[in-house]
């Protein structure tokens, strides 16, 4: 068990614990932060962002980047709301199928044409946003099946909602697959050294397509759950999800160079962001604090992960020594 608790994999959980303790300290005796209401809203935020984070995080693990999750998130919500008024399950499955197929197509293009994933998924992103606008005629669509919305947000056991439970189950499944099958190790291998992974018999191309399919599926599921629970979908309103998703994956221990991270870490990363957002809100901090925190985290990690950082520091030290010596 200790194997899992020390080393880089423990970092996301340590950050999460530190955030919770810090917010509890700031709140003091007011009881605004450590309450069932905050826990519930934290898990609601978690449900909104965590699955996109998981999909994006997995693509980052294999040294790719799926920009299209933002577009898929919005488009899937619109599709589900348009098709699922009377049969919510049909809307859900339809949107999920679209997400899956779109992911497979993008993965296929990336693998077969040897293209950089950022470019291809940028194209995908623009196409998905376009489709969402065409489907909704640029309006915000109401979802008339309010029963579904109420059901998804219903509190279970004080702090959970159905939506949150779906996200948690998804993560549990991904973590189990990662821990107990070869798949997890293969994914890490592709991210660390693609050529070596290929020589050792990992089906690299198939796995890449599979991960983009999974990423599309995750983004679609998030979008559907959010649109159903808000009882509306709009083509433009959902687009500010890329920053939290990237920040969550990075906080969750996914390195920008690929080859590290695991689903439980990503869950902890997304939960950290959710705790920060709900917690800062609960202790009365203005909303922009959240944006600034997220930006600062991303920027710090980007610099710390910079491949030339060590070299530059040595250069700077040498330069400083020379300047002082002269």
């Amino acid at each position: 068990m200790w194997r899992y608790l020390d080393g880089p994999h423990a970092r996301p959980f340590a950050v999460l614990a530190a955030c919770i303790m810090l917010l509890a300290l700031v709140d003091g005796d007011n009881g605004r932060f450590l309450s069932a209401a905050t826990a519930y809203s934290t898990l609601q935020t978690f449900a909104t962002i965590s699955l996109v984070t998981l999909g994006l995080g997995l693509t980052m693990m294999i040294r790719e980047f799926d920009l299209s999750v933002v577009g898929m998130y919005g488009m899937a919500g619109c599709i589900a709301v348009l098709t699922g008024t009377h049969y919510p399950w049909f809307g859900l499955w339809f949107a999920l199928a679209v997400g899956l197929i779109a992911g497979i197509v993008q993965g296929f293009i990336i693998v077969r044409l040897h293209l950089a994933s950022v470019g291809v998924t940028l194209g995908g992103l623009l196409v998905f946003i376009g489709i969402a606008f065409v489907l909704t005629e640029s309006r915000s669509l109401p979802y008339d099946n309010l029963g579904v919305a109420l059901l998804l947000n219903e509190r279970v056991g004080g702090i959970f909602s159905i939506r949150g439970i779906v996200a948690l189950v998804f993560f549990a499944g991904a973590a189990a697959i990662f821990a107990w099958t070869r798949l997890g190790r293969d994914i890490i291998a592709i991210g660390s050294d693609r050529r070596a992974a290929m020589t050792t018999g990992v089906k690299v191309d198939t796995l890449i397509i599979g991960i983009f399919a999974f990423s599309g599926l995750c983004a679609a599921l998030s979008g559907v759950l959010l649109s159903y629970s808000l009882a509306s979908a709009s083509p433009a309103g959902l687009s500010d999800v890329i920053a939290p998703a990237a920040a969550g994956a990075i906080l969750g221990g996914v390195s920008l160079g690929g080859g590290s991270g695991r689903p439980l870490g990503i869950a902890a990363g997304a939960l950290t962001l959710a705790v920060l957002r709900s917690g800062l809100n609960a202790v009365g901090a203005p909303p922009f604090v959240n944006d600034i925190t997220m930006g600062a985290v991303l920027l710090t990690v980007a610099v710390l992960d910079g491949p030339y950082l060590a070299r530059r520091l040595i250069e700077a030290r040498r330069w400083a020594r020379r300047a002082l010596g002269a």
């Binding site: 980047f65 950022v118 194209g123 005629e137 922009f288 991303l298 491949p307």
Partner: protein
């Protein structure tokens, strides 16, 4: 991400001379095909009834200029091998805000300088991080996006700020010889950017850094200066868009630049600048922006709803990205 494209370029270099030449010719054929395609498309568009009628073409020229200036800036980032920035749209908003504040406080001329400085420095700072420690450009720009929106929210309680009456001279609004001033600025920007790219040492270094970072480093190019320079100029051209928007509406709002990043990268790619870096031109971006805008106006004139414009732009970009791969023979 960038790693991948440099790896591709390296392996291309190690192939024997003959296939290399074949590959190069294919790229050239593709580039010609694209130019011809653009010309044919423009011909079809101009033949669309009602297109050349005054109002539609004038409004086209004005709207394309705002996105166009951002696209010129984006071109430099893409050529430098850093794909794209997600923070240019937010920079447009910030520049407009700061410009209006500075104009109210100091007057029009100083306001112009302050606006251009803030946009250039904000973006240049990102370039410094990306060039100096080679931080991931996508993540840096997403971080900058969140920070810019967070910080501006902290300083502006009310969403829109207005210029004091009479502070913006009437002469900078309107037209010169029937052409909107915005469009003239856009054309000049494209020409200046093209001169920077093709007639200066910085421009040559930029292409080298974009096509092979390691080779550029090996021949002694100061890579971080080049990348920072590319972002500084990108910020400069982007802040032009912010200032022009603020002048046009006599007010500023953080919503001004929303989604400009996507429109700009679409124009860059349609113009034929390679997403992997090291190839492209500002004049082609000018053409790309005109093509996208013209297609959008044509769709409107053909009676299609506005939403189809977004989809059309997306499909064009996706097609161009896939075709680029074919063209470069990979």
């Amino acid at each position: 991400m960038t790693e991948r494209s440099t790896a591709g370029a390296d392996s291309a270099g190690s192939v024997a001379a003959d296939p290399l030449r074949a590959r190069f010719d294919r790229a050239r054929v593709f580039s010609w095909a694209q130019t011809i395609g653009i010309v044919v498309l423009l011909a079809i568009i101009f033949a669309t009834p009602g297109f050349l009628a005054g109002p539609s073409i004038l409004s086209l020229l004005t709207t394309v200029s705002f996105i166009g200036c951002v696209a010129i800036g984006m071109t430099l980032i893409t050529i430098s091998g850093n794909i794209m920035s997600f923070a240019l749209g937010a920079t447009v908003g910030v520049t407009a805000m700061v410009f209006i504040l500075a104009v109210n406080w100091l007057g029009f001329g100083p306001g112009l300088v302050v606006g251009l400085l803030i946009g250039s420095l904000l973006t240049g700072l990102q370039g410094l991080l990306i060039g100096w420690v080679r931080a991931n450009p996508i993540i840096v720009s997403i971080a900058a996006l969140a920070l810019i929106y967070g910080v501006t929210q902290a300083f502006t309680e009310k969403g829109t700020i207005y210029a004091d009456p009479g502070t913006v001279p009437a002469s900078v609004k309107g037209k010169i010889a029937g052409i909107p001033i915005e469009f003239i600025v856009f054309l000049l920007s494209a020409v200046v950017a093209q001169l920077i790219l093709s007639a200066t040492r910085f421009g040559r270094n930029l292409f080298m850094v974009g096509s092979s970072f390691r080779a550029a480093e090996a021949v002694g190019v100061s890579t971080w200066r080049t990348v920072t320079g590319a972002y500084l100029w990108a910020g400069f051209f982007t802040s032009l868009a912010g200032i022009m928007l603020a002048i046009r509406y006599d007010s500023a709002n953080m919503d001004y630049g929303v989604a400009y990043d996507y429109d700009a990268i679409a124009a860059v790619l349609v113009g034929g600048t390679a997403i992997g870096g090291g190839q492209g031109s500002a004049l082609r971006t000018l053409a790309g922006a005109m093509v996208i805008a013209s297609v959008q106006v044509m769709l409107l004139l053909q009676g299609l709803r506005q939403e189809w414009q977004y989809l059309a732009a997306g499909l064009i970009v996706l097609a161009v990205i896939i075709l680029q791969a074919r063209g470069s023979g990979r």
